[in-house]
Symmetry: D2
Subunit: 348 residues, 4 copies
């Protein structure tokens, strides 16, 4: 059983319902979104008569659920989308599209500062920057770790940016939770349910990347692991899926999958246009197509000197490339269902 | 060995080279594009000294080839793209994007006329309309065949439209070659090499659909079967590829595949946005994304009354839907690398 | 509507039912198996009261069908399997497993005779040998065509073997139908519905290869195209399906697909173990696994001198390799659900 | 650079090489197999002259490596296979095939004991039993955790069995490392590099399951993460890969992938025949095929009462089913390249 509270239900109302559930011998778990709370009733093997809840106020809906996925479906959440607020009113799942940009990895203090300076001057408020990197070889650069996190944090503070960085295990998760604004879970850890559960208990939004061979149903299962632990602030990110085209080093952005996801699930979905290809020109083309196709945001790799990048150089845009793309995206924005949201320049 | 003639090489020059080849005991096969001719030397098991050809004029390049694909690669064709002219100056592979629209199947004389009337009034000059239909059940409507061809032809003539229709075997190929402007080979017959060879000998442009599980390399092999028989006027059409998402009835448009194809091959590639999904709204979104991503044309199913269509109803646009889409595409066109080409209304 | 006749129903009984159907304004199409006939009622848009058929004898079952697949399902055929007799009592779908062997292509008269001599001396009665070859390059050897067919036919006659050879279009189909015992349709033509329909009208068993990216459902649709035209003598052949492992030149034998197919469909399914890999040693391992997994037959490429083969050399077994494999298969046979069927040596 | 020590090189010899490496300013990391040690030289950005190592004894080979995979390839390991000894002489990668059996999850003390009693009486010495379970719904049974581990451990001790159980995070890994003999990493965590690295530092063999959409190359990368941390005792497990057959709940055992892996990598590879299908009968057929195809072991789910199993019931064999299968496997074993290894019954 699942109790969907009204938007604006008070803490007191929620608490009363929780106590009511506990009084009849069950466990209550609260899952909190920016607007609405859901109370999951755990442990009810039998049927609970919903009349019992008549005496409580603030309840919108009571749903008897048996299927394995409960919290991912929009229809179970009163039909409305969950707006994910990552801080200072920067929101996902509104009528506009956010942009997240930055380097694959933070490589030095200077490059972090330089990139944040550049991006913020262009109205970008969310900066990505890996510090723990799962790479395709254990001998490749694995990120600057704690040091990198410091650099990212300093740069973000100076230029008033929100930050996204990837957690790869409990240790990095707890470290990042203290510092960054959005915790990214990478494609390779999309089915690391243990880590996902931990993401469900933190007080930060999560950006979950769809695995490159994960079906939309697989994504739902992973989401349910986060949501069922109490965190509804999840942004999902499509980054291209693997096909039978093994000879080319590319994956395919599943635009229709984004639509299907948005039809069924209440969470925002953004598109990472950098990872499907290893070619800057194509990143630009895909970004343009994505904003016109319609999505809740773009994620793009930008680097001060892509040819010297320690990771993902071939697909990273230079500042110049990014500027050109931004002009194109602004032009297209007028005709997009969800226009690109850019912010005023943040003074240092 | 392959001899690439200069653009503008005369018939006489070509003939002389052919005779030169035959004099030294080999067979020559001419492959003709709109601008350039290629002469394939068949039967040369040993190496031919290219100095032999010094005495001939009109030759741009002599290429010693051993790999299995020769005529598909742009680099073998002097690096330039092949412009496919389907008649009256309606061309593919120029700096604009063509639009092909019309019903999945021609269902009656009235609907053919009504659709042609509507489309031509919107500036569309190329009409699709199936008359031989390979369906997913032998018990489904298989097309009006000869009768349908008559209707399509009458409508096209009246409204001055070029026509595209699918051949499924030798019989339909020879019938259609007499009447339509472009012969379509469907996804299911993409590897029907016997039919492809026959397409190589006809005097009409061919529109080859990529099979929904064909790699780009597979497409090249199929193209080579057409090109090596002497017909260079081929338009390729991406229509979505099958992925592991078996539970949803959808395929994924391989936008990056279009770019890869265009990088390597000299032929035009268009995108059919109707077949990847069974949902009109998504056809519109995909069409918008495709024009912005960049391609040589769009192929869209339009039907006077989609809910009553005998085939492909769910993904067919009504006239009203198409009008709305056209407005959006025109707006976007300004920002597209290849803007949409629309023609003046053709008076009846 | 579909009328399943009893096993042993007489021609007269069948004729009476056909006439009965025509009398009430519908068309009847007979689909004939080795044991049982099915009469399809075409043109019945409305419901026909089955009481009407009470007066006829020889009827086992009347099935009202609306779904797009009718004749492929075992449950529609009285639950029993269709035994395909390719002549002289050589049958598929019995309690044993047949073996088909021979070269990819017939390359000369001598090699045809030599191979037939060898195979027949080992108790193999069915010889494969391509004469029309769809290759992955139009410049590769495409088969000896009419001449090759002559050689195959002469060898088969001399050594009393049944023959399997591939048709690629109407012309080759009509030629082969006169001469060989089983018409093969290759993986690339699996969805060439026009050719499949023609296979439905010939009086020879058909061996349909599953396309390397075809789902079992796709195979059913293709089968229905043959069956619905009146030919129930179809053998299906699994040959490996394409996966995401693009870097290796291999496909994967879908053993579970064979079981699923056999659970649902009444036709025999064999396994071609030569095409999944380009490595003889692995062909042997797969053949051993296949006989133990259980299937209605094996198809194996054998060549007098594989290293000089004009096609498929790397995966062809030499006579010596084949002998070793045969010993292993005979040993395993005792423990196989369907042991390998070998015949006495045929004296010349 | 990588230094391959001779089989039988002494601790002293190894230590001397390590010190020699450190003396010239690099870091040495030892990777230990049952027979052979490898010393990885970390930090050598430039080239080290191998003449420097002439003074050390016990060295077999010095390999200059730059590619991203070093330790997975057999050719880098002196061409020989790594034998993985899980204790008491129970080894993988010898000339026989091991069998691992047991329930998906340990559900109670009684069932653990009952299963161990049964299996050991049949000569099976390795028991699987999940206690931390990543399931396709967070609301499904997630394993008995610490309690289950106690039951598994008690049963194993009583019946002298080796145990395999899955770790899903650091916590479970450290817990299991103390108690079980082989740590399993499940398909969903195959690319959880952080966990894999930790597996590289423990003193227990690891059983790594191939993800159901992982290429063999992906498996190599994951292995390299374990091996490069110093643990060479890894057994890899093929369990079926996902194909485009979305409508059926099945995956496909990649037999050829097993061969390719064994050709290139020095580690043992076993086949889990239970997870590809949800049908006991097919588990039996696949197991028979697998032993005949050839592999280093089978992993099979066995449950005292499959119809009441809390997880994976449909594909679990009952004791009776398992007995039947064992008889068949024993019969086939005579003809298998790697016959099934069964042990004498262990007295309680």
């Amino acid at each position: 059983m699942m109790i969907v509270m009204k938007i604006g239900a008070t803490k007191k109302q929620i608490l009363e319902v929780v106590q009511g559930i506990e009084q009849i011998g069950y466990e209550a778990k609260i899952s909190k979104g920016a607007q609405r709370s859901i109370i999951l009733v755990h442990g009810n093997i039998g049927y609970i008569d919903e009349a019992y809840f008549n005496k409580f106020s603030g309840i919108r809906d009571i749903i008897h659920i048996s299927r394995r996925l409960r919290l991912v479906y929009k229809e179970n959440m009163g039909g409305s989308n969950t707006i994910v607020d990552i801080g200072e009113g920067i929101k996902f799942n509104e009528d506009y599209s956010q942009i997240i940009a930055g380097p694959c990895s933070i490589e030095s203090r200077d490059m972090a500062l330089e990139t944040a300076d550049f991006l913020s001057s262009r109205g970008v408020r969310i900066m990505r920057g890996g510090v723990f990197k799962p790479r395709t070889s254990p001998y490749s650069f694995q990120g600057l770790k704690e040091k990198g996190l410091e650099f990212l944090s300093e740069a973000a503070k100076k230029y008033k940016m929100k930050t996204v960085s990837e957690a790869v295990d409990e240790y990095s998760l707890s470290l990042l939770s203290e510092v960054v604004d959005v915790i990214q879970i990478g494609a390779r850890n999309m089915q690391n349910y243990s880590l996902l559960k931990k993401c469900g208990t933190i007080n930060k939004p999560v950006l979950l990347k769809r695995g490159f061979t994960a079906s939309i149903e697989d994504v739902y299962i992973s989401l349910e692991y986060i949501l069922s632990e109490g965190n509804q602030n999840v942004i999902v990110c499509e980054r291209g899926i693997r096909v039978f085209e093994g000879t080319k080093q590319r994956s395919i952005i599943d635009f229709l999958g984004v639509s299907d996801f948005k039809d069924e699930c209440h969470l925002p979905m953004i598109i990472d246009t950098s990872h499907a290809t290893r070619d800057r020109k194509k990143v630009q083309s895909l970004s343009r197509a994505a904003i016109i196709y319609g999505c809740d945001g773009l994620m793009i790799e930008v680097h001060p000197d892509p040819d010297k990048a320690l990771s993902d150089g071939p697909q990273s845009l230079s500042f110049g490339d990014f500027d050109l793309l931004l002009i194109e995206l602004k032009n297209l924005s007028k005709f997009a269902k969800k226009p690109l949201k850019l912010y005023g320049t943040q003074k240092k």
